[in-house]
Amino acid sequence: MFKLMAMCAVLLTAGSVSAQSTPAEITFESCSACHGAAGSEIPAIAGQDYERLIDVLTAYAADADQATIMHRFAVAFSVSEIEGLARYISDLEGMPQ
């Protein structure tokens, strides 16, 4: 019986990981409205390097240059949120060019 319970607990944990979306995945739905496809002035970002994404987002958060909307977004995110987003985006398959 204990064995069965333990197995259920493992399954429950494993299942709950994938049965719901992560905050980064949900937040990325807003990013992909502009960055979800290649071929425009706005770069597609799926599959980009994790460290590079962190550098770029951190620079946008710090830099008040208002030539794009990215500073206005990035300034709202915590370090851990930026890391979570960068991890999610870098794990995506790259967009078809």
Partner: protein
């Protein structure tokens, strides 16, 4: 151990739920079905995202036309810059993605029976419904302005035939004529839209009818991106556009279609072309189904989009009161995608995670002169979707041509990417 994909994770949850350790998700009783009402940005985005993240769910999208013409970029059509076909999208891409597209008019969302009723009598059952019907124009709000009057004085606030009507009236306006716009108080669809329209009409007239005038009769004193618009108007169209704030007109009392007049408490404005954008309310099916609780817009749980008046029914887009988010196509598409994640979690018996929601509204002051306002939204401890202070905001005033050109380019990039992702035939990334 190999990583679980979504399908195997689902099987695990269903089997554990069957053993009584979890609240029974809809899947435990068979295949879950979600019915989405509304084929605009909100509904189509929700349907597409549902099918993408949970292919095992049956998704039916109820649409009232064979295609959708976007309000974003419709002012470029009015100004003769692009054809209507460039902003019109069919539902073939959604069908190819596995969404069952049902052409019909939804007349009622019945939360008690868990069915969406169509005008042809069919009742489509659902485990959860997502309702994104957009706006209806309130043809009872201004005396003299009804549906018949809108054939002579177009609103062009639902894109399509009305857009073409206004475009053709503008092109035929006599030399030195007057283009009058009547703009409502908040809330309404696309807060900066009327001022983008005035800008692009001015762009068209500057090239074709340079002594013509534009008068904006406004139901409010200040408006979205006002400093940026007026800076652009002074620079590109000096003397052509007059904005009459509410304080200087005290409200529209009447429209007189036969004389092309907008009558306000202080003054009567006669035009050669008159564009009346009337007050608006949530789409009829939502009001008829009690989702607005007697009001004009639908309150929701701002973390899950679920209606407090209809369990299992989620409402989003222009029809809903979604915290501080504006009624925009960008907002609706993001809300549709986020709501899809929530609905899938609820159907799987898992707690719904939250994320950050973003909005951007680009406007064209001229085809090569773009400006923007952005917002970042989080659910606060009281469950309200609040705009984050210190983030978001508008483009800078006083910027150079390079900045304005780049924002016009970004506007086109956003539009093509978003419409391709929601309506496109190709694979989503």
């Amino acid at each position: 151990m190999t990583r679980l994909n979504r399908r195997s994770a689902l099987a695990v949850v269903a089997s554990v739920a069957g053993s009584g350790l979890l609240p029974a998700p809809a899947f435990a009783q068979g295949k879950a079905r979600v019915v989405v009402v509304g084929g605009g940005f909100g509904g189509a985005s929700a349907a597409r995202t549902l099918k993408e993240i949970a292919p095992e769910i049956d998704v039916t999208l109820v649409v009232d036309a064979d295609s959708f013409t976007t309000c974003p970029f419709s002012n470029l059509v009015i100004a003769g810059e692009i054809p209507l076909s460039q902003i019109t999208f069919g539902y073939g891409g959604l069908a190819a993605a596995g969404v069952e597209v049902r052409r019909g008019l939804a007349t009622e969302i019945d939360a008690a029976r868990k069915v969406v009723v169509l005008a042809d009598g069919e009742a489509i059952p659902f485990d959860r419904a997502i309702v994104s019907p957009g706006i209806d124009l309130d043809f009872e709000a201004i005396p003299g302005y009804d549906a018949a009057a809108s054939e002579k004085l177009p609103h062009a606030w639902k894109a399509g035939a009305q857009t073409i009507l206004l475009r053709d009236q503008l092109a035929a306006m006599p030399p030195g004529g007057t283009f009058v716009m009547s703009v409502p108080n908040n809330p309404y669809r696309c807060p900066p839209g009327p001022y983008e329209r005035a800008s692009l009409v001015a762009h068209f007239l500057t090239n074709t009818n340079p002594t013509a005038k534009i008068i904006i009769v406004d139901g409010k004193d200040s408006f979205s991106k006002q400093a940026l618009f007026t800076e652009g108007w002074d620079r590109l169209y000096p003397g052509m556009i007059t904005h009459v704030p509410f304080a200087e007109n005290a409200g529209v009392l009447e429209i007189v279609p036969e004389r092309l007049e907008v009558v306000t408490a202080f003054e009567t404005f006669a035009g050669d072309v008159v564009n009346v954008i009337p007050p608006q309310r949530a789409g009829a099916v939502s009001l008829r189904s009690g989702l607005a609780d007697g009001g004009d817009w639908c309150p929701i749980d701002q973390a899950t989009f679920e209606s407090p008046f209809a369990p299992g029914v989620h409402v989003l887009g222009d029809a809903a009161i979604v915290g501080d988010m504006p009624k925009s196509g960008f907002s609706a598409s993001v809300q549709g995608a986020v709501c899809a994640h929530t609905v899938v979690a609820l159907l799987r018996g898992a707690p719904a995670e939250g994320g950050v929601l973003l909005n951007t509204c680009y406007s064209f002051v001229a085809p090569d002169y773009g400006i923007s306002v952005a917002g970042v939204y989080r659910t606060d401890p009281d469950g309200r979707l609040k705009s984050i202070q210190g983030a978001g905001g508008t483009s800078p005033t006083g910027a150079d041509d390079v900045v304005r050109q780049s924002e016009a380019d970004y506007a086109r990039g956003w539009y093509s990417t978003m419409t391709q992702q929601i309506f496109g035939m190709g694979p989503r990334g």
